[in-house]
Homo-oligomer: 354 residues x 2
């Protein structure tokens, strides 16, 4: 493998010294970029794009050609895993992802099998290998998966949900069935992330988009416990380097201590709490990734710089901070504003790493 030219991300995730704070953006390969929209139009559907390793590589690299980002993140979707488990993923215009065969009873849970990573999800591993090759060691590649709880919400509801009626119904009334489903998904996610690491992912992130919809007890039982199993089951070293694991529960600011206790390397933080408080609470157990309100990028360049400065100040001196938005970049953002943001992180963070 080519030598890694910029390893700020990996160093910061392990709280090792860096020259400036590394920065990347969730959904950095996405609709706000005209070049992404062009490739997407060429590919056909969204899933056609995910399933085409060359084009998935192309869109993964696009933001790196525009901005001095410190990481690439695999272009894919969190629902590839349930799709590979046989649920039949499709996308409807305006309504988002749907499954042809949702998992709503015992028979459906029992019928689910563990997908074969190279056969059923080989297109993802091919994308990882292609991206690594085309990156030529410029920056590390982050792999990812949805958390078992988050994937299960889509699997049980049959798509996105506002009310979580079916999945929480199962959770309350059939907790043993919910656990059986979560165990199967956990096994698949662990294998999926390990396959990504073997294919070349140099860090991995677990997106728990819907953990914040739970009570503290339900979060611990139905989301965090399974993320912990994943952390314990992951290959933590590859190509002679540690592969850092980032856990991100949106709206999970109450549970940082428990999340840090899983043995992960870093926590994603949304913008509803200050990094100073997050850092005080987790101490030196984990690094922190975040946490600019993505809406900041609607503001003027001057204001974006100011807000970046406030986030850097909130984290304070020393390593252990990966700058990011607190959630994915919105599709209507002006790409120049994203550029201002990224440049501001590098410029303004230097003083915190002396």
């Amino acid at each position: 493998m080519t030598e890694l030219k910029n390893d700020r991300l990996l160093r910061a995730l392990l709280r090792e010294p860096v020259d400036v704070t590394p920065v990347w953006m969730m959904r950095q390969a996405g609709r706000y970029l005209p070049e992404y929209r062009a490739t997407r139009a060429k590919a056909g559907s969204f899933m056609d794009l995910c399933r085409n390793p060359e084009l998935a590589c192309e869109v993964t690299l696009q933001p790196l050609d525009r901005y001095p980002l410190d990481a690439a993140i695999l272009f894919s979707d969190i629902l590839t895993v349930p799709d590979a488990m046989g649920l039949g993923l499709y996308f409807t215009e305006g309504e988002g992802p749907r499954f042809e065969r949702p998992v709503q009873d015992e028979a459906a849970v029992n019928a689910i099998g563990l997908p074969d990573m190279e056969q059923d999800l080989g297109y993802v591993m091919d994308a990882v290998r292609t991206i690594r090759r085309e990156l030529h060691g410029r920056v590390p590649l982050i792999g990812f998966s949805g958390s078992p709880w988050t994937l299960s919400t889509y699997m049980v509801e049959g798509g996105g949900t506002k009310n979580f009626s079916k999945v929480k119904g199962m959770m309350f009334d059939r907790p043993e069935l919910m656990h059986r489903l979560l165990s199967k998904v956990t096994e698949a996610v662990t294998a999926y992330l390990n396959a990504q690491i073997e294919a070349g992912a140099q860090a991995v992130m677990v997106f728990d988009t819907w953990g914040g919809a739970l009570t503290p007890l339900a979060y611990e039982t139905f989301s965090l416990a399974y993320m912990q199993q994943i952390v314990e089951g992951l290959k933590r070293e590859s190509e002679g380097r540690r592969v850092p694991v980032i856990l991100f529960t949106k709206g999970g600011g109450f549970w940082l201590e428990q999340m840090a206790d899983t043995g992960c390397d870093a926590l994603g933080i949304d913008w509803t709490l200050n990094l100073s408080e997050a850092r005080r609470r987790v101490g030196d157990r984990v690094a922190l990734q975040g946490n600019l309100d993505p809406c900041t990028l609607y503001a003027s360049p001057e204001r974006i710089r100011e807000e970046v400065g406030l986030v850097l100040q909130s984290f304070g001196h020393g390593s252990g901070h990966v700058f990011n938005l607190g959630h994915g970049i919105h599709p209507e953002i002006d790409p120049d504003h994203a550029g201002v943001f990224i440049q501001a992180v590098h410029e303004l963070s230097r003083q915190y790493h002396k």
Copy 2:
């Protein structure tokens, strides 16, 4: 005025002893009840129902005829105030509320006037008076309003929003304009709640549905500061009794201490934190209202009772707890399940008030 026969709600909000924990449900007059759907069909549009004091009274009382609830809450909409400020509220099927004339620039902010409470919002005050008369003192009547920040999100976006692009754009780029808008809305909300109190509301609640979408600093500056102004501007006594004020920021669990410092009487709590923790943090400064996950009502009666027991246990002994869901009851809930919930609160809470 008729004597109040059941004053558990008012007593608990002021942390005075009660025999059992009082309970009501956000959106208790709503679509999950067939009798509500019948009245709604008779009324015409949703706003026709809000604007008809007799029918608004009818739906307000419907849940009280079914369940031994400890409070009535005025049937209305949080967007009546911006509507009365001239924005032209209308509802579209499936897309929720919209404004004909959103407030997106300086001219629009300057053009907004303070509505006349009896002329422009007289239908709300008539509803309050009608409900009070028809309640015959069975339980107290809660009045309410949206918070200035929450109302402003709809006013600037022109309706509901996922991304808050326009309102946060204004907040970041034109903070002085945002403050001017919030000041005007605050003045209107204060007058609106005072008019409700004069018309007969015996407690009032401020719904800050979207405060949780803010960073800590933005919350303090653009939401909490204005709720504090409201608390300071309210008539706190009527008919010889204190009129308790409840503040509820959905997703605002990080900011309970600051909310309690506003001088309000109680805080609404969603289900993402335990009442034991909330109580420890606010001490005896305020009462707490909440916080069963509304999805619990999808579960079986046995499980609903268990979950009610856990919430009661989390709050523990003594007064200062008003039981509620952590958010509005969902439209698909079986009305019998709501009944199980309400009965369980009364039965299981007795032991905590000995």
